[in-house]
């Protein structure tokens, strides 16, 4: 992430320490030279550039009068400069306006609309002005009566925790391996990244066929090894584990690539210094690599948690079957996830209000988890 920035400086980490001394470029020093001082802060001993306070040039110095203070006139802003700034601000707003308008119309307003629908009973067919207001009944139903919703929440959390944890560990391990001097490193990096560029739906259908208990390739191979065919996606005991495995297969490459970029941003000098101090490789990993990778890991965990909590296409593709003869969610709803249940509730049962309530609940859950993660994982200043 900060690979380029990190390699430009020799001390510290992060962009804050790009230059020694304080920040700020405008000189507020008490001594004036004709031009702005290149460093801020009070003049130190031995600073030959210090000039008297007034503009009268000292003998032997050729300092144009008034220079260096033309823009600064006791705090009263220049009207022409203010107009230039306002014009710049206006153009800035104009350039970001399309993105903001897009966000308002395609994110903000739909979220508000969904929140309103969640308080009503709407079947997707009746005109909106004839909806029946239900208050919080939809939410009450979800938490008190809807067993599939609870199963979906449970499965979603298991999928997220297991998937993100395994991918983080495997991603880091893969990055350490690929960052070392192995042969055909570029080739291996490409191989790991290939599943990422495959559509989840296509991947799900592929694995559905591979894991089929009757004609799947995996069971055929197990048969050659004398192992009886396994139910995989057909058993409630193994279906969710299979889905997690497919998700790991798909996304581990992404974790590896991003972790590799983070690893390459860690200066070698740290490891050299640690080696000089007698640190072992595990100690170097624990005291140098992990702390330096904290921002990268934070990014990976937070973004992938948000994605995993909204999983749909992978579960849909692997549990509805090639001919879509099944309704999704796996045997005994063992792989039912929140978004799939939301989809079934909205488009099969025509309960858009209840589905919107689920969406709101998921939104709050994701928000809370993200805030907690940011709090726990962010580096303290």
């Amino acid at each position: 992430m900060n690979a380029e920035t990190a390699s430009e400086h020799s001390g510290g980490s992060g962009p804050e320490s790009e230059h020694s001394g304080g920040s700020g470029s405008e000189s507020e020093h008490s001594g004036g030279s004709g031009s702005e001082s290149e460093h801020s802060g009070p003049p130190g001993p031995g600073d030959a550039q210090v000039q008297p306070m007034h503009n009268t040039p000292a003998p032997g110095n050729h300092t144009p009068s008034g220079q260096g203070h033309a823009e600064f006139s006791l705090g009263i802003p220049n009207p022409r400069r203010r107009k230039r700034i306002n014009n710049k601000a206006m153009w800035a707003f104009i350039f970001i306006a399309p993105a903001v308008i897009f966000l308002i119309f395609f994110s903000f307003i739909p979220i508000l609309f969904s929140g309103w629908i969640s308080l009503n009973n709407w079947d997707l067919i009746t005109p909106l002005n004839k909806m029946k207001f239900m208050g919080t009944d939809n939410y009450t139903y979800l938490f008190q009566r809807d067993d599939i919703f609870k199963a979906g929440l449970r499965n979603t959390f298991v999928f997220t925790i297991a998937g993100v944890t395994i991918n983080t560990i495997l991603g880091l391990a893969g990055a350490l391996l690929l960052n070392s001097k192995i042969r055909f490193r570029t080739f291996w990096r490409s191989i790991y990244f290939l599943p990422i560029v495959t559509a989840p739906l296509a991947l799900g259908m592929m694995w559905y066929s591979l894991l089929n208990k009757n004609f799947g390739l995996i069971n055929n191979l197990l048969g050659y090894l004398g192992i009886p065919p396994q139910p995989f996606l057909s058993s409630p005991d193994t279906a969710l584990a299979c889905i997690i495995g497919i998700a790991v297969y798909q996304y581990v490459g992404y974790y590896i690539i991003v972790s590799t970029a983070g690893l390459q941003g860690i200066p070698q000098e740290y490891y050299d210094a640690a080696a000089v101090d007698g640190a072992s490789p595990p100690q170097s990993f624990w005291y140098i690599t992990l702390p330096q990778l904290r921002p990268v890991l934070l990014f990976l965990i937070v973004t992938n948690t948000i994605g995993a909590l909204q999983v749909f296409d992978l579960v849909f593709a692997t549990t509805t079957g090639v001919a879509a003869e099944t309704s999704g969610g796996g045997p005994a709803n063992s792989t039912m996830v929140i978004v799939l249940h939301m989809y079934n509730t909205a488009f099969k049962f025509f309960k858009m209000g209840r589905a919107s309530a689920m969406a709101m609940v998921l939104f709050v859950i994701i928000l809370l988890i993200t805030l907690i993660q940011l709090r726990l994982l962010q580096k303290r200043d």
Partner: protein
């Protein structure tokens, strides 16, 4: 100022162009001129000119585009239907038909979302269980009088009932599907049986006797289940329930009735067989019967073509029997129907009904309708139109179809009511929970009935 004037001129010009482009198109006309030749003699030459005597103007129908949606998405099913639509378009050149097909599982979401997005197909072929929700929401157009007359005069009472809701017929019934016990004759013979089971007790005995296990794992199950699919779970359950003398829901839809001793006996058949490892829920699709992983299955007739093409021991070894009975019950198959409906918001309703009527009308006296021909040749389904059942009796006369056609005479239609799909899914969820040992049969049926009662109450 000048730039403002320029912008104003541009806006007015654009508005004029838009108005011209969006204005109503003139009705196309064919103008035929009848002329006669007249000879005009001029001083230096004779000239023949054509003088118009009569002008006839005939209005040509406006071009119409119809969108039709079905769940017959496989190529083997799309091609024959497209051929029929091509035939209609050739007869009606002003009509263009766009044929859309999705998988069954996507049909209901597709219809619902297309409706919400304002891009509903003009015509859809849908499962009659969804009819009450569609009708209540004002989605369906009431058929015109000529269509209603045709339907009332030419369809079986069961089919009429299947497409009627709130005292209104909502479309042309198409395929009839019933459920029967389908078995592998060769496997039964190898196990020493010369006839299929007739009672639930015999079914229990046969299921265990026909199961083959190795190393503690079931390799061939006596009875295939179809988990994960609402119809696959609920339809066989209801067939056995009715054949045991039980009921699904009250006639006045006031309460669910499947949590009765009869319902419990049916569910316990499944759970006992699973516990004794005579049924393996992991062997869970009709394809398992086709490939020889199951000796029996309770299934509908529409998978005939799959059996003809791929049954492991040959189609001649497929047997069909009535649903086993228990207690005071008589063999009762569940029947469900599909129908063609026209979207109420379609701007081309008249043309849409014309197409649907043409599809369901015999091409000539004693001949089958295009739909009847399609259903029996491509699907192995039983057509609802009585004239099709007569005209196509040769296609319905093999041993497999004869049994299903006979069962249609006494089959019980799946109850059709608002919220029916949700009740079905609730029952499916609980039955599967019992299959996989997550709940006892008693708890599963109790929970399902409570949920069903809540849904029935909501939709009153």
């Amino acid at each position: 100022m000048k730039s403002m004037r320029f912008v104003l001129y541009l806006v007015v010009l654009s508005a004029m162009i838009l108005a011209a482009a969006c204005g109503p198109a003139p009705t196309p006309q064919i103008i035929e001129k009848v002329v006669e030749k007249t000879t005009i003699v001029e001083s230096t030459r004779v000239v023949e000119v054509e003088v118009p005597v009569q002008v006839q103007v005939t209005e040509v129908p406006q071009p119409v585009k119809l969108t039709m949606l079905t769940h017959w998405g496989e190529e083997s099913l799309m091609k024959p239907m497209q051929a029929k639509l091509d035939e209609y378009m050739a007869l009606n050149p002003h009509v263009t038909i766009e044929y859309q097909a999705v998988t069954f599982d996507q049909l209901l979401p597709k219809i619902a979302t297309a409706r919400a997005a304002g891009i509903s197909p003009d015509i859809y072929h849908f499962y009659n269980l969804w009819m009450p929700d569609f009708a209540k929401g004002g989605m369906l157009a009431v058929p015109p009088p000529d269509v209603l007359e045709d339907i009332k005069a030419n369809y079986t009472p069961g089919s009429l009932q299947a497409v009627t809701y709130a005292d209104t017929i909502w479309g042309y019934p198409t395929e009839i599907n019933t459920y029967q016990l389908v078995y592998n004759k060769k496997m039964l013979k190898d196990a020493g049986y010369d006839k299929p089971p007739a009672t639930l007790a015999e079914l229990t005995e046969y299921t265990c006797k026909l199961t083959k296990s190795s190393g503690g794992k079931v390799e061939v199950t006596g009875m295939a289940l179809m988990p994960g699919w609402d119809s696959g779970v609920v339809h066989p359950f209801l067939s056995l329930l009715w054949s045991a003398g039980g009921q699904y829901v009250a006639d006045d839809l006031s309460a669910a009735l499947f949590d009765s001793p009869e319902g419990l006996s049916v569910l316990k058949y499944y759970t006992d067989m699973i516990t004794q490892k005579c049924i393996d829920p992991a062997i869970g699709s009709f394809n398992d019967f086709v490939t020889g992983k199951a000796a029996m299955i309770i299934m509908a007739n529409w998978f005939r073509s799959t059996l003809q093409a791929s049954f492991v021991d040959g189609y001649e070894n497929v047997g069909v029997a009535q649903i086993p009975t228990s207690g005071s019950g008589t063999p009762t198959a569940l029947q469900y129907n599909w129908l063609w409906g026209v979207d109420n918001g379609s701007p081309n309703r008249d043309e849409a009904w014309k197409l649907v009527k043409w599809l369901n009308t015999p091409t000539a006296e004693g001949q089958a309708s295009p739909m009847g021909d399609y259903l029996t040749s491509a699907l192995g389904a039983i057509p609802s139109r009585t004239s099709d059942q007569v005209a196509l009796k040769d296609r319905l006369s093999d041993e497999f179809m004869t049994a299903y056609v006979a069962s249609a005479a006494t089959a019980k239609p799946e109850p059709v009511y608002a919220g029916g799909q949700e009740v079905k899914t609730a029952l499916q969820t609980e039955v599967e929970a019992a299959w996989y040992g997550k709940k006892t049969p008693e708890d599963a049926l109790k929970t399902a009935a409570e949920e069903a009662n809540r849904i029935l109450g909501e939709n009153k």
